[in-house]
Amino acid sequence: MAAMSTSFAEPPRTLVIACGALAREFLFLKERNGWDHMTITCLPAKLHNRPQLIPEAVREKIREMRAGYDRVLCLYGDCGTGGLLDQVLAEEGAERIAGAHCYEFFLGSPEFEALNDEDPATFYLTDYLVRHFETLIIKGLGLDRYPQLLETYFGNYNRVVFLSQIPDPVLLKKAEEAARRLGLPLVVRETGLGGIETFLATA
């Protein structure tokens, strides 16, 4: 475990290791709350394409960056690592935000569970995914080269739910266009950043 700061007046120097998809949201909160004691370092969001790589990538980042910090916090959900990320974090003495993935920690577990129970055939978008929809979804899934794969990827979904962190009419329009391209109806839920903010403020 990192040594605690000896000055109780100062907050602990905190290294935040985050998925790249959360960088903008963290910086928004850092500025709004004056969290000068927190520094973020990110791992590429594309690691989600191969979640088995996330745990060791996080471990490497912790070891590379932790010197000079009192503690390490992690903005990743389990993210498909099947508990292996939690194992690494326990071994490295770091703590992560609760939740299986960012959809859950944006919405909060009870609300995410209710939304999912309502219809598990839901494709979720966040601010980040809407912003990078063309790159991550269309090009990332090869739908630009093979549009005939749309049914393969999305044929089992009934709807798109856009989880909006920072309300933005431009992003909303993009989300509407994204849903249209997927051939699915759009539902919008404003989540804010309370989940992340509470975790970082109270961990």
């Binding site: 979640p51 498909g80 089992n156």
Partner: protein, 234 residues
């Protein structure tokens, strides 16, 4: 690409090699044509399946595992193979192609992801298994009903989400409760799974991809049916 190539002009060996390339490139029409040409030349459907389609997908699977091919390309190859298999399927039954065993497979309750499951289904069929696909979002009752109706050798479960994979234990526990767990081989797969998880829930094996699923299934069937089968499938 074989757009300008007359497949009919190729020898059997050349055609097989071309079909491997066409499968790799996800060229559905060319694969269908190649299958038809080989059948017209008197090839046994089982040999067309194994030498052109299964062998071709093996190359695709290896390059995917090595990070050379990615999901979109694998799916296009799979679509091409499926198209070829659609032609062969009725003929395989007619010509008494060897059947190694029977599997039921489905994605568990709460999970609608089926790309991996569909790839496993296709590769298991290609390997000589009869596969009954019970689809997505399956509660335990669906698995039990399928087991009762089809009496498979293998029960396959798939999940893509950390939140749905625990449901596999619900199914296995239900099988134990009914006293039927040991009558079936239980194979599990999906991105968030691993061997430790499979062991913890009482599955027989975790299969990290479709190719491993086929080899694992064959190995378990061989163990089940003794050395005679092991010689036949080798």
């Amino acid at each position: 690409m074989s757009n300008e190539l007359d497949l009919n002009s190729l020898s059997d060996e050349e055609l097989i090699e071309q079909m491997h390339d066409d499968l790799y490139d996800g060229l559905k029409d060319e694969i269908e044509e190649g299958v038809r040409i080989l059948l017209q030349r008197g090839w046994q459907p089982y040999d067309v399946l194994t030498k052109s389609l299964v062998a071709g997908m093996k190359i695709v699977g290896e390059d995917f595992r090595d990070g050379i091919l990615f999901v979109p390309e694998v799916l296009m190859s799979a679509n091409a193979m499926k198209a070829g298999m659609a032609i062969l399927r009725p003929l395989l039954a007619e010509t008494g192609a060897p059947k190694i065993g029977k599997m039921i497979i489905g994605t568990v309750k709460g999970d609608i992801h089926d790309i991996g499951k569909n790839l496993v289904t296709m590769m298991m069929e290609g390997a000589g298994f009869e596969v009954i696909d019970i689809g997505i979002n399956n509660p335990v009752e669906n698995y039990l009903a399928a087991i009762e109706e089809h009496q498979p050798d293998i029960v396959g479960m798939s999940a893509l989400l950390t939140t749905t994979m625990p449901y596999m234990k619900v199914v296995i526990d239900a099988m134990k409760e009914k006293g039927i767990r040991n009558d079936y081989i239980v194979l599990v797969g999906g991105a968030p799974l691993n061997e430790a998880f499979a062991e913890s829930i009482g599955a027989d094996a975790y299969c990290r991809d479709a190719a491993v699923a086929v080899e694992t299934a064959k190995a378990f069937m061989a163990r089940r049916q003794g050395s005679a089968l092991a010689q036949r499938v080798a």
